[in-house]
């Protein structure tokens, strides 16, 4: 079991160069620029006007809920893909296994429907 894998050397070079490049871009722009902070310069930008309201609002949990539901049903679809390709070759047991899987997910869907998770006010 060798200690140094020479066939991965090119990946190491890639890592080092990308690290140096990003550090250089970031640090050069931070250290070489004269920074004179002014009241007007650091205020929030709203098309030249004075800002109407604070830009921070409470995070609406509906966005998170939509993301989680998308994840679940997207994974369900990704399980449907290989099954649909081999459906002609697997016996009847294979068909009913997928039907049971879809049935359980449908129950979850009905649950979230009636709980109001699909309401977007």
């Amino acid at each position: 079991m060798k200690l140094i894998f020479t066939e991965y050397s090119i990946i190491l070079i890639f890592l080092v160069i990308s690290f140096i490049l990003s550090v250089a871009i970031f640090s050069l722009s931070y250290f070489l620029i004269p920074q004179k902070a002014d009241q007007e310069k650091v205020s929030a930008y709203e098309c030249g006007f004075n800002p109407f309201d604070d830009a921070r609002a409470t995070f609406d949990v509906r966005f998170y809920l939509v993301a989680i539901l998308f994840l679940i049903f997207d994974l369900e679809i990704s399980f449907l893909f290989p099954w649909s390709l081999v459906l002609g070759n697997i016996p009847l047991f294979g068909f009913w296994s997928m039907i049971i899987f879809l049935f359980i997910l449908t129950i979850g869907f009905i649950y979230e429907w009636y709980k109001g998770a699909l309401e977007w006010e």
Binding site: F103, I104, I107, I110, Y111, Y114, K115, G116
Partner: protein
């Protein structure tokens, strides 16, 4: 068809979950009926479902079979372990009747989650493959994360759930990483294939990569058991979760994870025994030390019970050092006594409320039991007996459990750790007896007025008390079950 026979109780519970979920969501959002609260209804329905599934698994013929493409196993151990888990859940359910109503945890989803957790634990016991272990443990853990934070109006509960989730997800990642290392090195994931692969391996010649993979998986299991030094989550999570859920966490998952730990350590990696014995030794030492000294400084009931359960895990693992039939039988005996004791003490902690006008309060602090003997002498006697059993004082059942564990540890000449365990047991006796002193000889400023416990949880308290007090008359009743349960792990 035998594939379905092996998971028949779980299939029954799954069908019931689907039906109950539809029933619950249709009726609880039904405006014509006034959005009824279904929680109490669900409570009784879940009790019925659990009793039927207990009957179903009891009346199955116990087969020895591998099912589902060698992912699941059924043998004597799983048969009896399923029965014990279902009985323990029924006991837990009976004692948490009133608590959820008083705490206004009215979600019917709570009961669906409990049923799912029971199904997950029944699957954990049967897992026989590294993938099946990961799937079932993750299934159970996800449900536990939700249960720990079920009380949405309490910041405590949310924090407990968050801590449990982050640490638990990390430990599941460790489990996967260890499994992938072992798979990458051997090309096998089935536990019996791995045990055949490792048979005849020479001790000094074990490749180090395998040990690293093994250690990652072992760390994940020890985390789930809250063994030290991976115990840090359990006091915070036990304290933040509502008391019913804490009772659920204390009583049930330990037996399931121990089932997997037995198969993993004593069946698959039995040839690595010289390596994992030293690791388990360190874990035992730290668990007993931290469990004993951690409980000294506690002033709240839930954290006290968390540290005491870390202490008990140390004793569980002590019997595992020997790795033979006696050892496993002692662990299972200790496990059954532990479940009965925890049922008893949670029947006390969950339901006893003291009444200080105008509200009634839960027992939160340890000094709340001062002067209990004057108010309710029989309840004080019950608590005393349960505390004595946890301390390991004869003739309570806890003593016999500890005796069997120490006997099987001494068989492998593990004298140092046994003496250490006995000494720490004496030290732990101190704070148990301090509680007894508080009950009998201390008095608070005002005499406490206790609301009477409801009938079902007093039933559980009574049953637990009788088992603990009178087990010494016929120990064979339980030890024969544990002997039969440990036969499948013989070589």
């Amino acid at each position: 068809m035998y594939n379905f026979y092996s998971i028949l109780p779980e299939t029954y519970i799954l069908c019931n979950i689907c039906i109950l979920l539809m029933y619950g969501v249709f009726f609880s959002t039904f405006s014509l009926l006034g959005y009824p609260l279904l929680s109490k209804n669900f409570n009784l329905l879940v009790l019925q479902i659990l009793i039927f599934s207990f009957l179903l698994s009891f009346l199955q013929t116990p087969l020895n079979l591998l099912s589902w493409n060698n992912l699941l196993i059924n043998d004597w151990f799983t048969y009896y372990a399923k029965l014990i888990i279902l009985l323990a859940t029924i006991g837990w359910l009976l004692l948490s009747f009133e608590y959820l109503i008083n705490e206004k945890l009215n979600y019917f989803e709570f009961w669906i989650l409990i049923l799912l957790a029971v199904m997950a634990m029944l699957f954990i016991i049967q897992a026989y493959d590294l993938l099946a272990i990961y799937l079932t443990i993750e299934f159970q853990s996800l449900i536990f994360y939700i249960l720990a934070s079920i009380k949405r109006t309490s910041e405590f509960s949310t924090e407990a759930g968050l801590k449990y989730f982050i640490l638990g997800a990390f430990s599941s990642a460790f489990l996967l990483f260890g499994s992938s290392i072992i798979y990458g090195l051997t090309g096998l994931t089935n536990l019996s294939d791995l045990s055949k692969f490792f048979s005849g391996i020479v001790e000094n010649d074990i490749p180090f990569n395998l040990i690293i993979g093994f250690i990652f998986i072992l760390v994940a299991f020890l985390f789930k058991l809250s063994a030290a030094p991976f115990h840090v989550w359990s006091p915070d999570v036990y304290e933040g979760a509502p008391l019913s859920v804490t009772a659920f966490f204390s009583i049930l998952p330990k037996l399931a994870i121990f089932g997997i730990l037995f198969r993993f350590l004593l069946f698959t990696f039995y040839d690595f025994i010289s390596h994992w014995q030293s690791i388990i030794l360190i874990v035992i030492f730290l668990s007993i030390l931290i469990g004993t000294f951690g409980a000294f400084a506690q002033t709240k009931w839930k954290r006290f019970l968390a540290y005491s359960s870390i202490n008990h895990i140390g004793f569980f693992l002590l019997a595992l050092l020997s790795g033979d039939l006696n050892g496993i039988s002692s662990v299972l005996f200790y496990g059954i006594i532990y479940i009965i004791t925890m049922l008893g003490i949670f029947a006390f902690a969950v339901n006893v409320k003291f009444y200080a006008y105008p509200k009634s309060y839960q027992f939160r602090y340890l000094y709340n039991v001062n002067g209990l003997a004057k108010t309710n002498p029989f309840l004080a006697l019950a608590l005393t007996i349960i505390l004595f059993s946890m301390a390991g004082i004869p003739p309570m059942a806890g003593f016999f459990a500890k005796v069997f564990v120490l006997l099987s540890a001494v068989q492998v000449n593990a004298f140092g750790i046994s003496i250490f365990a006995v000494v720490m047991s004496c030290v732990a006796c101190f704070y148990y007896i301090r509680l007894v002193k508080n009950i009998y000889f201390d008095s608070s400023v005002n005499w406490i007025v206790i609301k009477p416990i409801n009938k079902t949880s007093s039933l559980i308290l009574g049953l637990s008390l009788i088992s603990i007090l009178f087990l010494f008359i016929d120990i064979e009743m339980i030890s024969i079950i544990t002997l039969v349960m440990s036969i499948p792990f013989l070589h």
